[in-house]
Symmetry: C2
Subunit: 312 residues, 2 copies
Amino acid sequence: MTEFGLIDFAARLFADVDRHGWEAIGDDCTVLDIGGGEVVALTTDMLVEGVHFLRGATPARELGRKALAVNLSDVAAMGLRPVATLLSVALPYGAEQEWAREFIEGYSELSHREGVALVGGDTTSSKEGIAVNVVAIGRGAAAHVKRRSAACAGDAVFVAGELGGSALGLDDILAGRYDTPYAALHRNPEAQTAEGAWLGGRSEVHAMMDLSDGLASDLVHILRASSCGAVIDVENIPAAGGNVRAAVCGGEDYKLLLTASAEGAEELQRDFHETFGRELYRVGRIVASEPRIQWRERGVDIDPDWHGFVHF
Amino acid sequence: MTEFGLIDFAARLFADVDRHGWEAIGDDCTVLDIGGGEVVALTTDMLVEGVHFLRGATPARELGRKALAVNLSDVAAMGLRPVATLLSVALPYGAEQEWAREFIEGYSELSHREGVALVGGDTTSSKEGIAVNVVAIGRGAAAHVKRRSAACAGDAVFVAGELGGSALGLDDILAGRYDTPYAALHRNPEAQTAEGAWLGGRSEVHAMMDLSDGLASDLVHILRASSCGAVIDVENIPAAGGNVRAAVCGGEDYKLLLTASAEGAEELQRDFHETFGRELYRVGRIVASEPRIQWRERGVDIDPDWHGFVHF
């Protein structure tokens, strides 16, 4: 059973349970309307030693920042601002002293920078590896929430930064080059929290999510949730180092992927650039079709073997 | 660094961060006032293979129920009703198929019985052991929230069920007796969700928490948070099998521990019995003293070597 198989299985088992106002599984966060035009949103991610990081290769402080960043990115992807987190840590005997202190210092460092509180958690021992679970809590206007299911035929498709840098960085690290600019991107991913909250406030933005598994995989989640297709112009993808395969298939970029009404697209790009001094890249458009991506290169349909990162 | 050392360290690092309305670490849940006289509460717990369970000895279905129950118990301890959960699971390659299916079926079984939805989560692979993290979400009236810090000198101290059964059950299991009544208690702990929500509605109840580490350890959390002491009459402790040491030092009972005004104590006991058909046990009283427990046996102070379960 793959990650999505397991989630689907659970979703079916729980289909008949009252959700008490919480939204069902299927977006970057689950959202609760708390009245007064406001929502609270929750997301969670688990990181496991030997799978998501190697204790020898990943400094604890860096992992503390990264564990937080990937969760903040999920809140940003909803168009909301992260306000607080819960942190669970399982540590093998012996590792706890120095490692835990540095991990929490890194976590606290990024929390301070993002203005995010720590309001709960759990610590326990483990028999062997380290495991970390983070829950991020977002809050904001109900009208700002962006869901995967909101893409419309005709929308322009955007990505909010260069893609593939993290994958190239992982290649560098595996080749023993720890200090390249791409390795730094992989080791210290930045969540687009300011961009997410800003895009949440723009009504021309329809669907949004963050790119954790690569455009080829993540965009399909929006297409399936919205029952539409996409045409992506490969030459417009902002590919790190010109490596389109890494940009499309590489994981852990944590850049925002969004669709917006075609009429508002140019103004959105202009305002984004004025606000953040960086480009919002227009890479294609949503079409009425099966939920699949049609890749196109200078106006010609192509059929490359591109897939995103698959878990398990 | 012990569990509490690590939490204290984190709490100090985060002391200067705005909590955006969420309460600080220190209770069974963190609570957010969402307006309209209502609160949302969150708690999280991590279970790790080889520490909290053995894959060979614990059926996955049972573990699914238990992982949920311990979190529901934390919501009940706040006087609130659990409404939804998030579930993260890390699974070694190979274990995922059958194990994951049965785990989620057990989790779903108890969720259905308690009317609790599954609204989010994460699944990932692990290198070796299984790790599970559950987040439970509670909701209820702000006026019903019971905190550890609310005990007052003069309060009566109650426990909402027999204690020590889980510890005796663990002894049975370790001796190879899997099917005793105590072993069943250990394997399938029940969260006192109905009792917790009911006690939340009683204004004579002051402080409340759930007993996960044993009375000798957990009561001290209430005493420290409330800056008071307690006198406990040992002969009044409802000890499973008459084993007072197991009742006082054993973990994982998940019965509610609470204090209530002395004037309201008898009516509370009577109403509890009428509602649930079971006894609310009065075991002692809160006194103005250092935050420590004075054990007393038939009116005579005693000084036994009783400690609760210590993590790490």
